[in-house]
């Protein structure tokens, strides 16, 4: 198990290095640079921009810039953000907790909702309820995420102004609120984005969980349980769900990457200052070091997610625990598709 984890970590670092290089090259080859966009004023002489390009080393050849960047990273310096006028690490440090709060809440919500929907569907298998819930998950599953976010905003923030239209807190009042009121303020801002993000993933989890439940439903021990005269609900929740939950739990790790991507749109629409909106803005502003830092974080999350998924998978299935030497490296390096 330990050697497996070590191997996966080495793999993750290699992948992160490759991702960094790839992003660095791609974004530097793209037209535009961070200074062009931030100094669009006729009164600014071309020489001023030229000076700042030199200060940030943007006038050097690409390999030189890359080496400079790498030596910086080696020293733990992710660079200086031109568009935020502060070190990249400060930008990241501000954004990551916001994303974690949003994605974390959505994760919990989506698993709770997804599993619940699946249990109801299986309990009522073949009925109208089952099919209606199935259609609803299919619908949720087919929504453009930014569209769902915009419609949620339109409905619950503009037409029925129940929730605020964006941000993590009320910037005006929040500093002056007591602890309870401050927490409530946070929750009010979290509801729409978190539910939007959760809805999309809940559908996927429900579909998966339903299939897993139906799969175990045919197993012998359930027949035994039925023979013992236990009620269908008890069988479903106590026995079937317990067994069918394991594969779903492995989704937990996998869904991290989905959350990272989904968060990009949801954060943008709700003005949630997390890593997703920082990344998108940085691409638009050609803020190179910020883009690279965000991609690294994204790839670390994805790697961590698939590692967690693999570990859970191995815990769940003793056969795989023994087969850890498999060259493929566990369950999810194969699942890391899409």
């Amino acid at each position: 198990m330990r050697s497996f984890v070590v191997r996966r970590l080495v793999q993750a670092v290699t992948v992160a290095a490759a991702v960094t290089t790839l992003t660095f090259v791609l974004i530097h080859l793209a037209p535009g640079d961070p200074l062009a966009g931030t100094m669009d004023d006729p009164r600014i002489a071309p020489s001023v921009r030229a000076h700042w390009r030199q200060v940030y080393g943007l006038d050097r050849p690409l390999p030189v810039q890359y080496v400079r960047f790498l030596t910086g990273v080696a020293r733990g310096d992710l660079g200086f953000s031109v568009s935020y006028n502060e070190p990249v690490i400060a930008v990241i440090r501000r954004a990551v907790p916001n994303t974690l709060m949003l994605a974390g809440t959505a994760l919990v919500l989506s698993f709770a909702a997804g599993i619940l929907i699946a249990v109801i569907q299986v309990r009522r298998e073949g009925t109208l309820t089952d099919r209606a819930l199935g259609a609803i998950s299919l619908g949720l599953y087919s929504l453009p995420d930014f569209w769902l976010a915009q419609v949620a905003l339109l409905a619950f923030s503009y037409w029925l102004p129940i929730f605020p239209a964006g941000g993590t807190i009320d910037p005006v009042i929040h500093p002056y609120l007591g602890p309870a009121a401050a927490a409530l303020d946070r929750v009010r801002h979290l509801v729409l984005p978190a539910v939007t993000l959760a809805a999309l993933t809940a559908a996927w989890i429900a579909r998966f969980q339903r299939a897993a439940l139906l799969d175990v439903a045919a197993d012998d021990y359930l027949r035994t349980a039925r023979a013992k005269g236990l009620s269908e609900w008890t069988i479903l929740v106590r026995h079937a769900l317990r067994n069918a939950l394991l594969p779903v739990i492995t989704l937990f790790g996998l869904s991290l990457s989905a959350f990272v991507s989904g968060a990009v749109f949801v954060e943008k629409v709700f003005g949630w200052p997390g890593i997703g909106s920082v990344a998108v803005d940085a691409v638009g502003a050609r803020d190179y070091p910020v883009i690279i830092a965000c991609t690294i974080i994204g790839s670390i999350l994805v790697a961590a997610g698939s590692l967690i998924a693999d570990l859970l998978y191995m815990l769940a299935d003793p056969r795989l625990r023994r087969a850890e030497g498999d060259a493929d490296g566990g369950a999810t390096s194969a699942v890391a598709g899409a």
């Binding site: 490759a18 339109l154 749109f265 598709g337």
Partner: protein, 319 residues
């Protein structure tokens, strides 16, 4: 054994997991040329949801093909930039007009052509690239396979939206062809993994070894014997890819990367109203509904195909 997982933005791709011996039964594989399509269709037909999905999809296809007959106005031409700008839905303009006074219904009808054409072409591109890449990796095995798969790992671990935005930035102005290529070339990683896994498992089967022993070259073995056996997961992947690309195209338009004005796609119509959702809600809501309906139908068809292709499995199964 299969596991679905969400793709970057919620669609799913079919990926094999777990022990290799759980691939489709030998029996089907031995006679790939004999009637599998008819059997597939027979099983597909039994699935009510899938049939409804197919019907909806056919209707949508018919509507957008008939767009010139159905659209009351030209889609790209302002009608009256002062009197008819940003009109809410009315009898004359059932879905309203946009800020430059174009009829939204006409734009949605024509935009569907663009969105769907992009989706189909990009999904096919992705499937082709992914199949070739995966087949080569799986067939070669060893170090080549390891390196090729690490490359896909790296690409996969960049959130697709960011990868797309970066590549689009690199590209500058994107024609529809460019958009197809960008979407296609960032969407093949999943397919390549499926194909690679299948090929890896199939390449050492008796009949594949036998084919090689009879003097068939690597290319021939791959094309004639192995690839036909992975056709059904690829087809499912294409179907899901279409749904996925429709969503992605809309998402990219949201970030200002989309087809060139004045042409419409479902994504760009929404983009025209994106920062005025409050005042011009019809620009966001209606094209969005068109997308949801289409993608739902596509997913229903993909589900049906999957169930029909591999009747033993539901969605996912324990290993």
């Amino acid at each position: 054994m299969t596991v679905t997982r969400p793709s970057e933005r919620g669609g799913a791709v079919w990926v094999p997991v777990g022990p290799r011996d759980a691939a489709p039964p030998e029996r089907e594989r031995r006679r790939p040329a004999y009637g599998p399509w008819r059997a597939l269709w027979r099983r597909y037909r039994r699935d009510q949801g899938a049939v409804v999905g197919l019907a909806v999809l056919a209707t949508i296809a018919a509507i957008i093909i008939a767009a010139p007959l159905l659209a009351a106005y030209p889609p790209d031409v302002p009608l009256d930039i002062i009197a008819l700008k940003s009109q809410p839905p009315s009898w004359l303009h059932p879905l309203g007009t946009d800020p430059v006074s174009r009829d939204v219904l006409s734009r949605v009808l024509y935009g569907g052509r663009v969105s769907l054409a992009i989706a189909v072409l990009a999904a096919l591109t992705a499937a082709t690239v992914g199949t070739l890449y995966g087949a080569i990796a799986g067939y070669a095995g060893g170090a080549v396979d390891a390196i090729m798969m690490r490359v896909t790992d790296a690409c996969l671990s960049i959130p697709r939206v960011l990868l797309l935005l970066t590549v689009a930035a690199l590209w500058g102005r994107l024609s529809i062809g460019g958009l197809v290529l960008v979407l296609g070339f960032t969407g093949w990683f999943g397919v390549s993994r499926i194909v690679r896994g299948e090929v890896l498992a199939l390449r050492d089967r008796e009949w594949a070894i036998a084919a090689r022993a009879l003097g068939a070259g690597a290319t021939r073995t791959l094309l004639r014997h192995i690839l036909p056996n992975v056709a059904s997961p690829i087809i499912v992947a294409i179907a899901l890819g279409i749904g996925n690309v429709i969503l992605l195209e809309a998402g990219l338009s949201f970030f200002g990367v989309g087809v060139q004005p004045p042409q419409a796609s479902w994504g760009t119509i929404m983009q025209d109203g994106a920062d005025q959702v409050r005042a011009l809600w019809w620009l966001t809501v209606f094209p969005g509904l068109a997308i949801v309906t289409t993608v739902m139908a596509v997913h229903a068809v993909a589900d049906g195909l999957r169930r029909a292709a591999d009747p033993r499995s539901g969605y996912g199964a324990r290993p």
